[in-house]
């Protein structure tokens, strides 16, 4: 059953409100948070397939590595791009 209320989530420390049915990927992109990860060469990348095949939209969602295109945005979620997580190391 889809959620019917707006969700407030945190994207790299920024709080954003999204409509029901929004994926975490769309929330990131609407917030202008792209590229989502750096590749081995350090080049910027965006999501390619939008359907779970390419894995280029992975981010850490509530501590777990997830494909954001397959992850529905939910209230209270904490999303961190790999780019941001990598900066801590």
């Amino acid at each position: 059953m889809p959620e019917l209320t707006l969700a407030v989530l945190t994207l790299d420390g920024r709080r954003v409100t999204v409509a029901p049915g929004t994926t975490v990927l769309a929330a990131l992109q609407n917030a202008g948070l792209s590229p989502l990860r750096s590749s081995l060469s350090g080049e910027p990348r965006g999501a390619l397939c939008g359907m779970g095949s390419c894995y280029e939209c992975r981010a850490v969602v509530d501590g777990l590595l997830m494909r954001t295109c397959l992850t529905p945005a939910r209230d209270g979620q904490n999303v961190r791009r790999l780019l941001e997580v990598a900066r801590e190391f």
Binding site: P2, V18, A19, G21, T22, T23, L25, A26, A27, Q29, N30, S34, P35, L36, S39, L40, S41, E43, P44, R45, G46, A47, L48, C49, G50, M51, G52, S53, C54, Y55, E56, R58, V60, D62, G63, L64, L65, C69, L70, T71, P72, A73, N78, R80, V85
Partner: protein, 427 residues
């Protein structure tokens, strides 16, 4: 690990899978319907609601309400095997692994988009045509965004019309096929009642949008983000400033689960089935795009046939062979009309990345005889997508047939393999 037994398992909850599940349940089977997406509907019916007007709403409602069907969303098959008449699927879910046994399996695993590399295709803003459609259905705001849609196949038109409806400014649709092929497809579509209605609606939604046949992407340009696309049309190069390039070169059947179960494929790379949608493995049926790219009407029909065959409702299939023949003819026209013409497509530069996961470039891959050598020497196809993106690209560019399906089909947390809870502490 949970272990369970079902009468039938349907893999994929798009049109073919939903139809197969409903039909098999009507025949008295206890059916488990699995899908990787968070909700049923597949790519084409993504975001559709149970009970809304039309076939999608009807099927979603019937499947949700049928006591004989259990829907498991967010579930991906990571391993599959056949032993005599019994099939076992190991499925990864948020709650851990589940082992599912069934005598009947219906594969409705759909297709992936075929991406072909060109200079700049790794820039953010270059996305799959179906991918951008999926993202917009998932809440991506495309209102006012400048979009170029390019590649090949009727999906481009559907994507362009859908994006325009959501407020995007579609600057052009660039189709690599020639006008003759496009016209042949149009005429074949006009002969099928459902398709002709669909085509009229698409045409109305695309009034004023340039449709360029015989037109290919040369490069995408931008600094850290897509800023413009260069297309070649005849001898002319056209540069369009844009926010998104939605690009796809047709669809490729997703046959990995079928391959693990031992199902034979045909020479196009699709699962080979007979008139009852039965594969070469006893008790395994297949329906929809996994059997060849044919669109939603064909998928529904094949799902129905597979559901009837799996549950022994042969008397319901009287009209099916005639309808299937029509669909197959349409499918053949589709394949011919939008066949990729490598001579018309732009050859990647040596520095163009082909394998996005492992940053392997065209210059490193030319000259290898096949996948095995290329994988060993370059790691092409060994990244997280396991060749889902670069596999079809290499098949087109170098003639390699990707035959490397092996478990696990998808990356999964080590904790799941160790049968431990997968929740980690937030960083």
């Amino acid at each position: 690990m949970n272990s369970e037994v079902w009468d039938a398992v349907v893999v994929g909850a798009g049109p073919a899978g939903l139809m197969a599940a409903r039909t098999a349940a009507e025949g008295g089977l206890r059916v488990l319907l699995l899908d990787a997406q968070p909700g049923a509907g597949g790519q084409i019916w993504r975001g559709a609601a149970a009970g809304q007007k039309g076939t999608a709403g009807d099927l979603l409602r019937d499947v949700a309400a049928h006591p004989g069907i259990t829907v498991l969303s967010g579930a991906e098959v990571m391993a599959a095997e056949t032993r005599e008449r019994a099939h076992t699927l190991t499925v990864t879910t948020a709650a851990g692994l589940r082992q599912i046994h069934a005598e009947r399996v219906i594969l409705a695993t759909g297709a992936n988009e075929r991406f072909l590399p060109f200079d700049g295709w790794t820039l953010p803003g270059v996305v799959g045509a179906g991918g951008l459609q999926a993202m917009s259905k998932g809440g991506l705001n495309v209102r006012g965004k400048r979009v170029v849609v390019a590649g090949s196949g009727p999906l481009l038109l559907a994507v362009a019309a859908g994006l325009r409806q959501k407020g995007a400014r579609v600057l052009a649709v660039a189709e690599q096929a020639g006008l003759t092929g496009v016209a042949a497809f149009g005429m074949a579509a006009a002969r099928l009642p459902g398709k002709s209605r669909e085509a009229s609606a698409l045409a109305a939604g695309l009034l004023g949008v340039p449709y360029w046949a015989d037109c290919a992407v040369v490069r995408a340009s931008g600094q850290n983000q897509l800023q413009s696309v260069t297309l070649r049309r005849g001898r002319r190069e056209i540069r369009l400033d844009c926010d998104y390039l939605a690009v796809g070169f047709g669809l490729v059947p997703e046959t990995r689960v079928a391959a693990l179960l031992g199902c034979a494929l045909d020479n196009t790379g699709a699962v080979r089935v007979n008139v009852w949608q039965a594969t070469s493995i006893q008790g395994v049926y297949a329906a929809g795009e996994v059997c060849g790219i044919g669109g939603v009407d064909g998928a529904l029909l094949e799902g129905f046939v597979a559901g009837c065959a799996a549950s022994g409702q042969i008397e319901r299939l009287r009209d099916a062979p005639r309808r299937a023949d029509l669909q197959r003819r349409f499918q053949r026209v589709l394949e011919r009309s939008f066949a990729l013409r490598p001579e018309r497509l732009h050859t990647p530069l040596p520095a163009t990345i082909v394998c996005r996961c492992e940053d392997v470039r065209h210059g490193e891959l030319r000259g290898f005889a096949g996948w095995t050598a290329a994988k060993l020497q370059t790691r092409c196809g060994m990244g997280v997508c396991q060749g889902r993106v670069c596999g079809p690209a290499c098949e087109t560019l170098y003639g390699w047939r990707f035959e490397g399906a092996r478990a696990p089909l998808v990356p999964l947390p080590l904790a799941q393999l160790l049968d431990e809870p997968t929740t980690l502490s937030p960083p």
